[in-house]
């Protein structure tokens, strides 16, 4: 009975903030094949301000029964091109696994770059001056990626496998202004007396 629900919510808000869950799909160009990939991922992103992002995602080919074929971690930077409407996120990808269209006999490595644009469909408008203890938003995501897979050690081929994709999907993010609210500061107000030198 003596639970402190508000404080728990506050802690939860702080812990979950900027946690975006994303699902995208689209064609992948890998060597001669171009299967359709389905990618699920999560990203920690800053809310309301431009800032670094960090996350991971798992890719699979739709034709292969949705078996995860590749995993990535990514580091990027959110640029608010149109605050509250459009965010551009360039990022660097490091991956493990193999190309979406070719099975390695071991675990390959990936290095690549990507960029995505996110258009706010619904939810908190982070351009407005308000303080959301907790909230959420839904973004339409258009992402492009390109990079190369290095086959596993001991493979018969040492040829790099180039891979690129264009994906369309959505990102649902839980946000909070608890870690970083709207810009401003606690200012010492200027009183009439102070203006007159009375204080």
């Amino acid at each position: 009975m003596k639970g402190a629900l508000p404080m728990r919510l506050l802690a939860l808000a702080a812990a979950l903030t900027g946690c975006g869950l994303q699902a995208t799909t689209g064609p992948t160009w890998a060597n001669e094949r171009h299967p359709v990939a389905l990618v699920f991922g999560g990203t920690l992103q800053s809310h309301r301000f431009n800032g670094p992002t960090f996350g991971g995602r798992v890719g699979m080919a739709v034709d292969d029964g949705l078996i995860p074929r590749q995993g990535f971690v990514h580091m990027g930077y959110d640029l608010r091109a149109i605050p509250g409407r459009l965010v551009i996120e360039p990022r660097l990808d490091l991956g493990l696994g193999g190309p979406i269209a070719r099975a390695y006999s071991g675990v390959g490595a990936y290095l690549g770059g990507a960029a995505s644009g996110r258009v706010r469909l619904w939810g908190v408008d982070d351009s407005k001056t308000e303080f959301n203890i907790i909230g959420s938003h839904l973004d339409l995501v258009l992402a492009a990626r390109g990079g190369a897979w290095a086959p596993p050690e001991g493979s018969s081929s040492t040829r790099l496998d180039w891979e690129a994709s264009v994906e369309l999907g959505v990102r649902v993010a839980i946000i909070s202004d608890v870690p970083s609210g709207p810009a401003g500061r606690v200012q010492a107000p200027v009183t009439p007396a102070a203006e007159e030198g009375g204080e």
Partner: protein, 740 residues
């Protein structure tokens, strides 16, 4: 053919039935209004006073400290509403100060519905529920969703049963008072009372440029600052029975007391000092003479945010005002105390409270202009609240005793005006308030005397200025939970009122007015009623709760008060303008305010509270039984000595019904005389855990107290009957007892 005719009749019957059901179901509320009882026909005023005990069961949330609001696990002072019904041939009103944090329209209308069902002719426009603003009363009865939302307390939610409990008790009390209406006289008195309070938001207050008007708070604060700098204070004798400087009406300004620590600073002068009392007297006979009339009730109005106890409190109590009314009732009631008490003890008891079983004067204390006015305490604690309440109670009693003219006939009028705040026009040239109410993040940080842990967020601190102000709400940073504001978040409609009794007027505000807002309301009303009303008292927190009304100069600072001004920076102008219009109506002049609803016609009310939660504890059936006597031991807690015993836990609902659970203190070798009970100011009941409750007697002992050395017992009555073993009160300093 017959079957066909029968079928047609059947269809017709079905259609009629469906129509009846449709009409019945489409009605927002079904109420069976009884024929209204007439007001007794008698010349002059009729009046009556009553008390409604609204102490609820344990385990409801305490409302007022936002997310810091604890769950009640005990009762320190029982919560009451004092009810004053005043009538004459022209009108009838019920003035009802209550130990609540704030009223809600849901509660106001629920009481009104019950009165209609009982045939009491006091409609919603004649009913004025005025909260004292204790932060130690339950929540769960607000139709506004944000008042029941996750950050409203530690166990949020709206519970219809809490609402109906409060409504039933209040309506019952009003019904009792209506039935007891008797020929009466009324009398006013008013004085300035300094030294109990200070302005807690002094920096924004200083933004209110003084206009130079006599008695204006800003002017007074400026003078106080000058006096302090010049150190030219003079001394005045303290008021009888108080440690306060009570200044005669009409005095030019505050006169600091002799004691240096009580010297009036600018912040202490930046308050509304007016203490007003309306005395109700029972006439000796049916003639219009007030000779021999006896005091039966006092409605006092004084502005103080009465949080004498910190927000870690987990007991029900009326805080400073709860103590004050008990002290005032004790002093004003006659005969002294319990009739069977020895004279010395009876006199001593009068210092704390009246004997509720004897005929006594009922004192109600409505809160006045208190939005930015804190009690001047050394620190927040129950003993400090008690001390402050004692001083205020004595001041009320003194002022009541000095009421000069009483009158058996005179004016009685009420105006109640439900104002719609969204987009409300505030200046007569089509400038409007914000469309949606918003609470600023600084409000979640709590006021100076009730800070919350949310102040770890920089934006939740007073004075946070966003780089980018919002269009309508200016420097306020709206506090949200990821959703756009809903019209159900905060009240959109709230009533203002004027109640004229004799040569005094009470202006009622549906929230908390800061000092300057209150002063502007008073001046606006007084200007319209010049030559008609000698007293204008401003009472806040009446009938609805729109939080604060900071002035448009104070608002941009975004202190707690500005952040809690819901409809934007111009809310105060909207309020003052409509008070001027309402006062113009009262004085028979033209009402310049257009666009608002009709006066004395309550607006439609369509509540949709959320989240719904079951907070009312389950009823438990306990058979009556007696227990063996228990030992009572002395224990010092919170700086106060007390005598306590621990009993087995009782059902949580027991605290709401004194017929099943009550506590008394008995005096004498055989415990034959009742000294006090849990309706007074000295008994605390606390749930220790699921299995144990603690009963504690906390007499307000003075060094030469007549109770020292006496023999006492604690007694539990109701379903459980228990009398403790006798114990003696030793007033010499007792050795510090080990704590359990």
């Amino acid at each position: 053919m017959k079957p066909r005719a029968s079928s047609r009749r059947g269809r017709l019957g079905t259609a009629v039935l469906l129509l009846i059901l449709l009409v019945a179901c489409s009605a927002r509320e079904t109420s069976v209004a009884a024929a209204l009882h007439p007001v007794p026909a008698a010349p002059g005023y009729l009046a009556a006073a009553a008390v409604a005990d609204i102490t609820p069961p344990l385990h409801l949330s305490l409302f007022g400290h936002g997310p810091e609001g604890r769950i009640a696990v005990g009762v320190r002072l029982r919560l009451n509403c004092q009810i004053f019904v005043i009538a004459n041939a022209a009108d009838i009103v019920a003035l009802v100060p209550c130990d609540l944090q704030s009223p809600s329209m849901a509660l106001h209308r629920a009481v009104s519905r019950r009165l209609a069902r009982a045939g009491v002719p006091i409609g919603a426009d004649r009913l004025f529920i005025m909260a004292t603003h204790t932060h130690a009363a339950p929540g769960h009865y607000f139709e506004a969703r944000r008042y029941s939302g996750p950050f409203s307390s530690q166990a949020p939610g709206y519970d219809e049963r809490v609402l109906e409990f409060l409504a039933a008790r209040i309506a019952g009390g009003i019904g009792d008072a209506f039935a007891a209406l008797a020929p009466a006289c009324v009398g006013w008195n008013q004085t300035e009372l300094w030294g109990l309070t200070f302005n807690r938001a002094y920096v924004p207050f200083l933004a209110n440029a003084p206009s130079g008007a006599e008695g204006e708070p800003a002017t007074r604060a400026s003078r106080a600052e000058q006096r302090l700098q010049a150190a030219d204070w003079k001394t005045t004798p303290s008021a009888r029975g108080t440690e306060l400087s009570v200044v005669e009406r009409g005095a030019a300004g505050p006169k600091p007391s002799a004691e240096p620590e009580r010297v009036s600073t600018g912040a202490e002068a930046a308050v509304d000092p007016w203490l007003s009392v309306l005395g109700l007297y029972r006439r000796a006979d049916d003639t219009l003479s007030c000779d021999g009339s006896r005091l039966m009730g006092v409605l006092a109005v004084y502005g103080m945010h009465p949080t004498g106890v910190p927000n870690t409190n987990d007991l029900y109590h009326g805080d400073i005002f709860g103590f004050a009314v008990r002290v005032a009732e004790g002093r004003l009631s006659s005969p002294a105390g319990g009739t069977s008490l020895p004279a010395e003890l009876a006199e001593r008891r009068k210092e704390e409270s009246a004997d509720p079983d004897a005929e006594h004067v009922i004192v109600g204390l409505a809160n006045g202009v208190e939005g930015d006015v804190s009690p001047k305490l050394n620190f927040q604690s129950m003993p400090e609240a008690r001390k402050h309440g004692r001083a205020l109670g004595h001041a009320i009693a003194t002022l009541t005793e000095e009421i000069g003219g009483r009158t058996a006939e005179g004016r009685l009028a009420h105006l109640s005006w439900d104002l719609r705040f969204p987009k409300g026009e505030y200046d007569g040239v089509a400038n409007t308030l914000c469309e949606h109410a918003e609470l600023g993040i600084a409000a979640a940080g709590g006021a100076r005397d009730g800070p919350t842990r949310i102040r770890i967020l920089p934006a939740a601190n007073a004075g946070f200025q966003p780089d980018q102000p919002s269009d309508c709400h200016g420097q306020k940073v709206p506090l949200r939970r990821g959703a756009e504001p809903s019209r159900h978040d905060f009240p959109e409609v709230a009533p203002i009122g004027l109640i004229e009794v004799g040569d005094g007027v009470i202006a009622t505000v549906p929230g908390e007015a800061t000092t300057t807002t209150g002063d502007r309301i008073r001046r606006a009303v007084a200007a319209q009623l010049a030559g008609r009303s000698a007293h204008v008292a401003v009472a806040g927190l009446t009938n609805q709760y729109l939080q604060y009304f900071a002035t448009h100069e104070e608002y941009p600072f975004q202190y707690y008060e500005g952040a809690s001004t819901l409809y934007g920076p111009h809310s105060e102008q909207f309020l003052v303008r409509h008070f001027a219009c309402l006062a113009a109506t009262l004085s028979g002049q033209r009402n310049e305010c257009r666009g608002a609803g009709a006066i004395n016609r309550p607006a439609p009310f369509d509540p949709d509270p959320e989240p719904i939660a079951k907070r009312w504890p389950d009823d438990e059936d306990v058979q009556s039984f007696g227990l063996d006597p228990l030992d009572v031991k002395e224990e010092k807690r919170d700086g106060e000595p007390g005598w306590e015993m621990v009993i087995d836990a009782l059902p949580l609902t027991f605290t709401s019904d004194r017929s099943v659970f009550s506590v008394a203190v008995l005096f004498g070798e055989s415990g034959e005389v009742q000294l006090d009970d849990d309706r007074g100011a000295s008994i605390e009941i606390r749930e220790l855990d699921d299995e144990l409750w603690r009963i504690r007697w906390i007499p307000d002992l003075s060094p030469s107290d007549t109770r020292c050395g006496g023999q006492f017992r604690l007694q539990v009555g109701g379903q459980v009957r228990l009398t403790s073993r006798p114990f003696r009160v030793q007033c010499r300093p007792a050795p510090e007892a080990p704590r359990p």
